[in-house]
Symmetry: C2
Subunit: 286 residues, 2 copies
């Protein structure tokens, strides 16, 4: 695949993105669909893929996980081929602690892409999202990671909980309110736990201590603050925050509140990582 | 109202219960409806009440909160009368910490009823439910309390999250699995936080380390363990657990895992508390 154009695909929980990438790593075209894996019924992955990118009709299979610690070479060596020489799935990573496994799939590629872009060998990274990943890299290898259902908890509380009665209509979110977000982070960091602090979204409104339009930002601060609280971060630590602008900006604000320095990397790291994997492969006839 | 039969009503988040209680505190009749406040639209409380108990057509109003610390006499002295001498609403309690308020309504009556039943002047109590309440009583007065959205988080995760895809069909829960519940409590107590630990419900299933039918009990252990972890409980502490059999049994199991001794009180404490409040009132013509 090296030396040829590459169709790179990132199929996440809530969206499906693809890019056409040339041999020099330039993105020639990008497509994005609201067809995350949560919207796709069992057995429907091949037709959805075909409609979005014009791809294979062959069966899809689950790529195995590589166990951590794992480096770039480990995942490049364990591609799962859907059509030999044409379509491959990058394996995800797994880790095991106290008999409880954790997994990621896609973020490892983004991490290795970011390490290349930033020329880093050691780093602490966070990839915020529906399921945020915190990743530790030592000597170019992913040694540990963990999943945090932060984005999903926010959506559950926003849409389906008793708080939805207090929050503004869900059809359109009001403008972000950085002050309310900061209050949410600060309250989360006091340490009582989200099961308790989430309820304050209701009581602050009940006692007219926060405007309705500020409540979604406050709740966002509560869940993100809860995630950060558990990361054993120290003032002066450095964290790489990866992903889309809106979300990484929020994490930057919250991490700054903790005295942690932040380096942000855009979503392009995924394409960089996938291009790099393709470049490890032998040239096939074309 | 003292000396007369009393219609005592407990209108909670997820159910509406009522009892006809005679002058000696005997429950003559009990009714329960799946018409918790979450199912009632604004303005519909009077007609729902009327259909369930045959009550007032007059307007309802919000009873104010009494600030903590508050004793039995404080709430009895601040009844909000809907129909003078006939229908009154017991005020709820509020507490304020770091500028963040918390509230309860109904549980205070249950607590005072339980203190009478158990002849206690000092206690730590928990009332598990959609929104669990932890209550501290010193010298017969409620000095502090806090709300935990444990039951609601469980329902959100069970019904609306990505975990719903892993858990058995939601229409009928499998038999409770005490072993899986214990594992959930233990994992929560390790301390990484529910945003992270909840995801293990998915990965344990993905790696075939837990049977599908055991997963709801495991998830229940995770959320209840998360609630307990934040209560600064020490081995040898004593806690009064109040409410319905199924839920108080689970809390007893989890608290026992922590080395905490448990005294359980059934739902009758509400009627005891309401009867006691009515008995403080002057006899009206009948």
């Amino acid at each position: 695949m090296s030396g040829r154009n590459l169709v790179a695909v990132d199929w996440g929980t809530s969206s499906l993105r693809g890019a056409l990438i040339d041999a020099d790593g330039r993105v020639l075209e990008e497509r994005s669909f609201a067809r995350g894996i949560l919207t796709v019924a069992a057995g429907q992955f091949p037709p959805v893929f075909e409609r979005c990118f014009g791809g294979s009709k062959q069966g899809w299979r689950e790529a195995p996980y590589c166990a951590c610690p794992a480096g770039f070479d480990d995942i490049a060596a364990h591609l799962e081929w859907v059509e030999p020489g044409r379509i491959a799935i990058v394996p995800g990573l797994s880790v095991d602690k106290d008999g409880v496994p954790d997994v990621m799939r896609g973020e490892e590629t983004q991490v290795f892409g970011a390490l290349q872009l930033l020329e880093l060998a050691n780093a602490r990274l966070v990839l915020p999202g529906t399921h945020s990943k915190w990743v530790t890299v030592a000597k170019h290898r992913i040694t540990d990671f963990s999943t945090w259902m932060t984005g999903e908890f926010y959506a559950l509380l926003r849409q389906h909980s008793i708080l939805a009665r207090t929050l503004p209509n869900n059809d359109s979110d009001p403008e972000p309110d950085p002050g309310a977000f900061e209050q949410g982070v600060a309250h989360a960091l006091r340490g009582q736990g989200l099961l308790h602090t989430a309820f304050s979204t209701r009581t602050l409104s009940l006692f007219n201590r926060m405007a309705t339009d500020a409540l979604p930002s406050y709740l966002s601060g509560l869940v993100i603050g809860e995630e950060l609280k558990s990361q054993s971060l120290q003032r002066g630590d450095a964290v790489v925050v990866m992903g889309a602008e809106v979300l990484t900006a929020r994490y930057q604000q919250a991490l700054t509140q903790l005295g942690v320095s932040v380096q942000r990397v855009g979503a392009g790291a995924t394409w960089r990582g996938l291009r790099a994997i393709a470049d490890t492969l032998p040239r096939t006839g074309s």
